[in-house]
Amino acid sequence: MPFTIIDGGSFISDAGSKNIDMPMSPDYMRVLNVTRLKTPITPLECVGGEWFGAKFGSGASAANRGIRYKHPNPATSSLFVDSFDTATATNGFTYVTEIPSIEAQAANAITAITAASPAVVSQTNTYADGDIIQLYGTTGMLQIGGMNFQISSSSGSGYTLLGLPAAGFAAAGTAGFTRRVSSAGAVEPRFLFVTAISQANQAVITCSVDPSSHYVAGMKVHLSIPYSFGMTQANQVTAKIISVDSATYQITTDLNSSAFTAFAFPASTASPTAPLFATLAPAGASTQYNPVTNVQTGYDFQYQPFRAGQFVPYMKLGGGGSANLTGIADDVINWMAYKLET
C-alpha cells in the first residue's frame, strides 16, 4: 500500500484556522510548524500533526482530531505525541467533503449573550476572528436561534457578534450552543441574514456576517423581511448596492426606507410562532442602458457571477493558539498530502 505525495505547500499563519483545498482527496496528511521547531523550546507548543483518512477504517482520525506532536513540559530534549482534543481545548484536522455543512465539531455551550450592540458572547472556545458560527438553542434570545454570525475580538472566553445589534432585545441570552460552519456558501453569492435596516433615503442594511466577502457595489439584493421584523414595506423588495463596509458588516443601498416602519427583531417570547428570518439574496446586477446614447452604465463585472463558493473537499487546520495546528501569527506552516496508490 505505497503512498504518493500528491500535493504540498507552505503558508504563513495568521493564528486563525486555515482551509486548504483538497481536490485530490487525500488519505493521509502531515503538517509541520517550522517556526515552532526552534530552540530553545517553549513547553507544550504544537510543532506538527498527522491525519489519517477514511481508508484507515477504525484508525481514521475523527473530526477536529489527529495526532499531535508537541514540545514537552517541562522542557526536555525530545518531543512527545498525543491527540488533538475533540471538545474545546485544541483544534486539529477537520476534513470537509460536502457543503452546505456544519464543520464536524462538538457542540459548544454558550453561557451568555449580552443584549448590547454589538452583542458579546461568553463561551469557552478556540474560535478565531473571522470564523462563522451557527447559533441554536439560545435561551433568552430565541429569535436568533438558527442564525449564523461572524465573530471578532475573540478570546478563549468569548467573542463579539459585530453583526448583531441586540441593544433593543428585552433580555440577554443565558444559554445556547454553537457549531462552526463553512465560511462561504456552497454557491456564491449566498443569502445573508439581515439584523438591521435603517430608516433613511439610502437604507443601510446590517448583516450577520461581513457582506464584503459575498457582495460588491452594483449588485442587486432581494430582501425577504417577514412581518415579525416590523419593516414590512421592505419585504420582497429589490435594491441596488451602493457600497459595502467590511468594518461594520453593512450594505448601503438605493432603497429609500425613510418612511418605512422601523425594523426590529421579534421578541424572544414570540418564538417559535413568529416568522423568521430576515434575509437578503442575490438578484443579479443592475445595468442602466441609454438607447439614445447607446451607453451602458454597469459595475465591477468580475465579482458577481453565481459560482461555487467554498471548494470541497477541503482540510481545515485548527487555529486558536500555540497548542493548535496553525500555531501563532507569522509561524511558517508546511503541509503535505498523500494518497494511497491502491
Binding site: 457543503i99 452546505p100 455543512s101 456544519i102 457542540a107 451557527q134 441554536y136 438553542g137 439560545t138 430565541l142 436561534g145 438558527g146 450552543f177 457549531r179 456558501g185 456552497a186 454557491v187 456564491e188 453569492p189 449566498r190 443569502f191 442587486k220 432581494h222 425577504s224 417577514p226 420582497q236 429589490t238 418564538s271 417559535p272 410562532t273 413568529a274 416568522p275 423568521l276 428570518f277 434575509t279 437578503l280 439574496a281 442575490p282 438578484a283 443579479g284 446586477a285 443592475s286 445595468t287 442602466q288 442602458y289 441609454n290 438607447p291 439614445v292 451602458q296 454597469g298 463585472f301 458577481q304 457571477p305 453565481f306 459560482r307 461555487a308 463558493g309
Partner: protein, 310 residues
C-alpha cells in the same frame, strides 16, 4: 473435508442505487458557446414605469425613461471523476467490467449535477421558517398556512406557475390538481407532508399520466417532489434538530447552463497510455455546468423540521 460451496453469479448485476433527481427538471436550460469566456450572462429588462404617460396637448414631449437591465451572470465550472481498472480484473472477473463502470460514471454525472443544483437552491435563496406546526421547534413542521404564505409571496411577485392543472375526473377519492409551483423536499419530511391539511397524495390525482416518480403530493398551489438528497442542515433548529430547506418556485426562477462542446464527456484511457507496463486502464467522466438564480421574485421556500425525526 467438505467441498467448497459452489458460487454461481446471477445472470445480470443488481441495480446500483440512485437517488431521486429533483433539482434540475424545473429550471431553464441554457447553452454557453465555446471560446467566448467562462461567464455566461442572462439579461432581463425591468418593466417600464406605468406612472403618468398622458400627453396634455401642449406639444411638449414628455421625458423619456432610461431602461434598466438586470444581468444575471454564472461562471462555468468543470467536474470530473475517474475509475482505474487493472487488466487482471477484466482477465479474471469478466469483460463486462468496463461496461458497468461506464454506466456508473454516467450515473455519477447525473447525480453530481443534481447535487450542484441543490447547492444553488440551498445557498442563494431566502427561506422563511415554518411556524404553524405543532412540534414546538423553530422552525416547526410544515403546515398548510406555511405553504399558503409562500404561495402569497410568489403570486404577489407575479410568478407564473410551472405545472399545468390536472382536471378532475369522475373517480372516487380523487380531486383536481391546480396549476402549480414546484416544491422540492427531503424524503424525511414525507410523514409531515401527509399530515398537512388539504394534502392530495399522488395516488389521488385524477390521472397518473406523465407524472414523475419523484412526485409525492400536492399541497395548496405546490406539487412536491422528494429526494433523499434534498437539502438539510443537521442540528441547527432551536432544539438542535435537523432543518430541511424546501425551495419553492415558478417559471424562470433558476437556470442550468451547459457548455457547448464539453457537456457530459465519458472517455477511456487505454492501459498502454496510463501504465508503464500496460496493466491499468482508466475510465473518466467530465461535465461542465453553470447555475444561477435568475429571478429571486419567483423563488422562495420554507425551513422545516419534522414531527417524526428519523
Amino acid at each position: 473435508m467438505a467441498p467448497e460451496l459452489p458460487v454461481q453469479a446471477a445472470e445480470d448485476l443488481l441495480s446500483t442505487p440512485m437517488f431521486m433527481l429533483i433539482h434540475s427538471f424545473g429550471v431553464d436550460l441554457h447553452y454557453a458557446d465555446s471560446y467566448i469566456g467562462k461567464n455566461y450572462r442572462m439579461s432581463r429588462f425591468d418593466r417600464l414605469s406605468t406612472d403618468g404617460g398622458r400627453l396634455d396637448g401642449s406639444g411638449i414631449d414628455p421625458a423619456s425613461e432610461v431602461p434598466v437591465r438586470t444581468d444575471i451572470d454564472a461562471e462555468m465550472e468543470i467536474y470530473s471523476k475517474s475509475v482505474s481498472v487493472n487488466e487482471q480484473v477484466i482477465l479474471f472477473d469478466g469483460n463486462k467490467t468496463l461496461t458497468k463502470f461506464t454506466a456508473l460514471l454516467g450515473q455519477w454525472i447525473r447525480e453530481k449535477e443534481d447535487l450542484l443544483m441543490r447547492d444553488l437552491f440551498s445557498s442563494s435563496v431566502s427561506y422563511i421558517n415554518s411556524t404553524g406546526g405543532l412540534n414546538g421547534d423553530q422552525p416547526s413542521d410544515p403546515t398548510r398556512n406555511d405553504f399558503n404564505n409562500i404561495e402569497n409571496i410568489l403570486l404577489s411577485n407575479d410568478a407564473r406557475s410551472m405545472l399545468t392543472d390536472i382536471e378532475a375526473e369522475n373517480k372516487f377519492s380523487t380531486g383536481g390538481v391546480r396549476d402549480a409551483f414546484i416544491a422540492l423536499a427531503n424524503t424525511n419530511l414525507c410523514a409531515d407532508l401527509q399530515a398537512v391539511q388539504g394534502v392530495l397524495l399522488k395516488n389521488a390525482y385524477p390521472s397518473q399520466a406523465g407524472l414523475r416518480p419523484e412526485e409525492y403530493c400536492s399541497i395548496s398551489r405546490f406539487r412536491v417532489f422528494v429526494s433523499s438528497k434534498a437539502a438539510k442542515i443537521p442540528g441547527i433548529s432551536l432544539q438542535g434538530n435537523t432543518v430541511y430547506t424546501v425551495p419553492m418556485y415558478g417559471l424562470e426562477a433558476a437556470a442550468k447552463i451547459e457548455q457547448n462542446n464539453y457537456t457530459s464527456t465519458i472517455g477511456y484511457r487505454p492501459a498502454w497510455v496510463v501504465s508503464s507496463v500496460a496493466q491499468n486502464s482508466q475510465l473518466y467522466a467530465k461535465f461542465a455546468i453553470a447555475r444561477a438564480i435568475t429571478n429571486q421574485n419567483w423563488i422562495s421556500g420554507l425551513n422545516c423540521t419534522t414531527f417524526n425525526p428519523s
